[in-house]
């Protein structure tokens, strides 16, 4: 694997290999010396055109635990025009000898453009591009689900037969897209739950069922309910009337959590809007994996960086 741009490109075997490596990486977090020499001498650049302290720090910790040198390059607010800055920045990073570039960009496909451009010869990790994908989030979500379901026996396993309901702003969610491809590749079944305005106009070719009715989805007893962050600006663009109505129809409140099977888990990629898409009770319940997701993020990103930066470069 040379780049990680989309989970659609990741095969089942590759995905399981990454999840398994992440199991080993998770062990490192529990040692006194939380560091491996694996990527000594490699340079990882965090190239963030959008603010995301959580994701950037997660990648930074992951790279440092593997002994890579980390350069944080925040391109936001740069005075050059946006378009020029992607190319210019990439060439600058290439001149500095970056071995991997972790890129967060507001434009869908920007990581792909970087990978294909010839501006830079480095492994590219998509850390979230526009409304396209966020592959490491999906990997850490899959890891979290697998760990909850199979515990110490997780290694080598997929998510066959696991039912996942993804709820919320599917239309604009890169987390939903990456999860859809990855979870189904691993054998899970996915149901998308949202008002029609927040669903794509066509889901042809998407391996998922679609429903507008959260209560029906809850009553079907899914193994996983994955809530997506809802952005306040969607209200102004008439995607839904107001927060109260959204919360009432598509929010995971205490009552809905109560109707879920005890073994079902509740996920959220964060940051959460408590009281809007998820109640505090749901977010803090024993079924919630919100904090595990954060911890697992580091392990997954270590595994991804290891996967991209070790091994001979394929021609």
């Amino acid at each position: 694997m040379r780049h990680l741009l989309s989970t659609k490109d990741v095969s089942r075997d590759e995905a399981i290999a990454i999840l398994d490596i992440a199991e080993d990486m998770a062990d490192v977090a529990h040692r006194e010396v939380k560091k491996l020499p694996t990527l000594r001498g490699k340079t990882v650049v965090n190239l963030f055109f959008e603010d995301s302290t959580r994701t950037r720090v997660s990648f930074e910790v992951a790279a440092k635990r593997l002994s890579a040198d980390v350069i944080n390059f925040s391109a936001k607010g740069s005075s050059v025009s946006k378009g020029e800055s992607l190319k210019d920045t990439a060439q600058t990073l290439a001149a500095m000898g970056a071995d991997a570039v972790v890129i967060r960009h507001g434009a869908s496909g920007a990581p792909r453009v970087l990978a294909d451009s010839g501006w830079i010869d480095a492994g590219i990790v998509n850390a979230g591009d526009g409304t396209h994908e966020h592959p490491t989030q999906a990997l850490l979500d899959a890891f979290t689900i697998r760990k909850r379901l199979h515990g110490a026996g997780s290694r080598g396993r997929g998510l066959d037969g696991v039912s996942v309901a993804i709820v919320g702003d599917i239309l604009h969610s890169r987390v939903a897209r990456s999860n859809l491809w990855l979870l189904t590749t691993l054998g899970a079944t996915v149901q998308l739950v949202a008002p029609a305005t927040l669903l794509p106009v066509s889901t042809a070719g998407w391996p998922a069922t679609v429903t507008y009715d959260l209560d029906a989805a809850i009553d079907a007893g899914p193994d996983v309910v994955m809530m997506l962050r809802i952005q306040a600006e969607r209200m102004n663009a008439a995607f839904f009337p107001n927060a109260r109505e959204y919360s009432k129809q598509w929010g995971l409140d205490d009552e809905r959590v109560g109707r879920l099977p005890a073994a079902s888990i509740v996920m959220h990629p964060g940051p959460m809007n408590r009281g809007l898409e998820i109640s505090s009770g749901a977010a803090d319940s024993a079924q919630s994996t919100v904090l595990e997701q954060v911890a697992n993020g580091v392990s997954i990103r270590m595994a991804v960086l290891y996967h991209l930066l070790s091994g001979t470069t394929e021609a």
């Binding site: 694997m1 290999a17 398994d20 490596i21 199991e23 080993d24 062990d27 040692r31 006194e32 010396v33 560091k35 491996l36 020499p37 694996t38 593997l66 290694r155 290891y306 996967h307 930066l309 070790s310 091994g311 001979t312």
Partner: protein
């Protein structure tokens, strides 16, 4: 190229039994012994050694696995390697005598990686090395304390260690 048998099942068993006795002798008993196999076949051999040791001095020797993948110096020269689990027995390695176990000792680079990996896990009292086959061609100043069979080879030859737990048969061949 035809394979030449070097060790048969009985030879392997005899070698491991001898090594077990040598370990106990040099350690003056089994106190504080931790046997760590290096994946993949080193772990199998370590498990067998542990069983022999525990049959000689019951229930005193702990066995684990030490993966060295993340400590290798040749990661960028080969296709991406999938690491194996590291499994350190309860009680850790601090103050213990660790016996590293591998199937074949060759350049010594794997053992160098293992020493680095151990360093990140704790501070053993002493580290020893047991191998089933030493085929020479060392590239680092490393030698084994316990050797099943010294096997002079040319670098063009391949040593194949097969163990029944993994390969269905116990044998060492040169190919």
């Amino acid at each position: 190229m035809t394979a030449r048998h070097v060790l048969q099942q009985a030879d392997i068993t005899r070698a491991l039994t001898r090594i077990s006795h040598e370990i106990l002798e040099s350690n003056r008993g089994s106190a504080g012994l931790v046997i760590l196999g290096i994946p993949t076949r080193g772990v199998t051999i370590a498990t067998r050694l542990g069983a022999i040791l525990n049959s000689i001095e019951p229930g005193t020797v702990s066995v684990g696995a030490l993966d060295v993948t993340m400590y290798r110096d040749d990661l960028s020269r080969n296709p991406t390697r999938a690491p194996s689990p590291t499994n350190i027995p309860d009680g850790g390695i601090d103050g213990k005598t660790v016996v590293l176990v591998d199937d074949v000792l060759y350049s010594g680079r794997t053992i160098r990686s293992a020493l680095d990996a151990l360093n990140d896990l704790g501070r053993p009292r002493a580290v020893r090395l047991a191998v089933l086959v030493d085929r020479g061609h060392r590239e680092l100043p490393i030698r084994a304390d316990f050797v099943g069979k010294n096997l002079p080879t040319s670098t063009s030859e391949r040593i194949m260690v097969r163990l029944s737990e993994i390969d269905g048969v116990d044998e060492v061949t040169i190919e």
